[in-house]
């Protein structure tokens, strides 16, 4: 019982950190595709006095990725119903040029204002409509969700780290006597700390295994039956084989740092 308790006291906080890491990876992947959707669905309207090329717009701001000219004839056809041909022609010649401009990334509202400013600095451009308010609310909601998750993961990581430090103190207490006796009799550092490294590496492997099983369950069982569209659409992003390597690497790095710290602070015989 004591043996299981000792292992769980390290495995559980380590698992919490690994869950945080995996949640971050999964969230990053799923939000990437969502972010792509938001970016693709957004465009701004640029009104110019004379025709402008894409290169010209890109020279004004590097975020401009494409521009599509809106046919003025279509606009005139819509607004000048029942108007004579000559009047229609007159409207057409006096009408400015309209462009739908898309960007290369889903950027912050402040950057959107900067793009507007850059484009309007050119005398050929009469005005720029960024549709900032709807963009801003989507962006803020998206940023808020991202930030909340990061804070949650960070907090979970911090609490877990404190638990690991606590466990390090327990390790130091339980392994100190053996390590010091071995040191007196001339055992090299690796032999003295070998047992502790073995115990900790086993814990790291178990924590990685349990975390992976949890995410495999989420991917293949929970996501399928959840009825949540975004989960089903992004099922492939939920857990990848390569994530196991990442989790194992994180677990081993934590374990090696923790054990090395314990071993170094246990050097020298206390009386």
């Amino acid at each position: 019982m004591k043996f299981i308790k000792n292992h769980l006291m390290f495995i559980l906080p380590l698992m919490a950190i690994l869950l945080g890491v995996e949640f971050y990876l999964v969230f990053d992947r799923t939000t990437d595709s969502y972010e792509q959707g938001l970016k693709d669905g957004y465009s701004m309207l640029v009104v110019t006095q004379k025709p402008v090329s894409l290169e010209k717009l890109q020279s004004l701001n590097k975020h401009v990725s494409s521009s599509v000219k809106i046919k003025r004839e279509t606009i005139v056809k819509e607004i000048a119903k029942g108007v004579s041909e000559s009047s229609t022609q007159e409207i057409l010649t006096s009408l400015p040029h309209f462009y739908t401009v898309r960007l290369d990334a889903y950027i912050a509202t402040s950057e959107l204002d900067e793009i507007k400013e850059n484009l309007e600095s050119d005398t050929a451009i009469k005005s720029v409509e960024t549709f900032g308010s709807s963009y801003s609310s989507s962006y803020r909601l998206f940023s808020f969700i991202k930030l909340s998750l990061k804070i949650f993961i960070g907090f979970m990581g911090l609490v877990s780290l404190l638990l690991i430090i606590k466990q390090m103190e327990i390790w130091r207490f339980t392994h100190l006597q053996r390590m010091q006796v071995m040191e007196i009799f001339g055992a090299p550092l690796m032999l003295r700390s070998g047992i502790l490294f073995r115990v900790a590496i086993i814990d790291a492997l178990l924590a990685t295994l349990f975390t992976s099983i949890f995410f495999v369950y989420i991917k293949f069982v929970w996501a399928t039956h959840s009825g949540i569209d975004i989960m089903r659409q992004n099922q492939d992003e939920l857990f990848r084989i390569s994530d196991i390597m990442m989790l194992l690497l994180v677990a081993l790095v934590i374990v090696i740092i923790a054990v090395t710290t314990v071993v170094w602070t246990s050097k020298g015989v206390e009386e």
Partner: protein, 224 residues
């Protein structure tokens, strides 16, 4: 015969040299000698012993053990030197989560002997200290005297060049004390092991010739 331990103007101190325990001590101990170091409580007997296995560094002077100058020795050399020493403590310093047999063969384990050799040696040594029936027990299941006999068996496991003993019979009954003195006498006599014992009192029945140093007022003096 060559010196196994050689101290020259040795000064040992704690608190960055401010609290001097031993001052300007000079003495030599040869191979196969049995040495008692006595002195009042707090005189620095245990400090001197710790300096001999490199636990405390000399503040001044030199201390050479087994040809190694402990003041300048690297950690690896110090570790190697310790594998040729048998150290016995008043508080036994056994590993409580290990069996008696495993505790006894610790020096062999460190030296990389095979498990078979370790097992054979464990049986022989435990028979030697009359604890063969307790091989699979844990130290805390034994009496103080029995634990100290395990400590002595461990110290003898690799036929050390030097045995350093800090109050080895301090808390023990007469039977256990006699067993321990016999074991150390035998090691000294038969294997020419140098034995250095820190104690309050030299045992009344002791058959071997020995040297006696006393620590007084920070000095180490030989009693003739």
């Amino acid at each position: 015969m060559s010196n196994v331990i050689s101290a020259s103007h040795l000064t040992l101190a704690y608190e960055h040299g401010e609290n001097e325990i031993i001052k300007d001590a000079t003495f030599n101990i040869k191979k196969g000698e049995f040495v008692f170091i006595t002195g009042p409580s707090g005189s620095g007997k245990s400090t001197l012993l710790k300096s001999l296995y490199g636990q405390i560094k000399a503040n001044e002077g030199s201390l050479v053990v087994g040809g190694l100058d402990l003041a300048t020795a690297k950690q690896k050399k110090l570790q190697e030197l310790r594998t040729h020493m048998g150290i016995i403590f008043q508080d036994y310093k056994l590993v409580n989560e290990w069996t008696v047999a495993k505790n006894v063969v610790l020096p062999l384990m460190i030296a990389g002997y095979s498990v078979d050799v370790q097992n054979t040696q464990a049986s022989r040594l435990l028979k030697h200290v009359k604890l063969e029936k307790h091989a699979d027990k844990f130290p805390l299941e034994l009496s103080g005297g029995e634990q100290q006999r395990v400590g002595v068996a461990r110290a003898l496991a690799k036929n050390p060049v030097v045995i350093l003993a800090d109050e080895p019979t301090g808390n023990l009954d007469d039977y256990s004390s006699n067993v321990i003195w016999d074991l150390m006498e035998n090691a000294c006599q038969q294997l020419e092991t140098t034995v250095l014992v820190v104690t309050h009192k030299i045992p009344s029945v002791f058959s071997l010739p020995y040297r006696h140093f006393i620590i007084e007022n920070k000095g180490v003096y030989e009693v003739h």
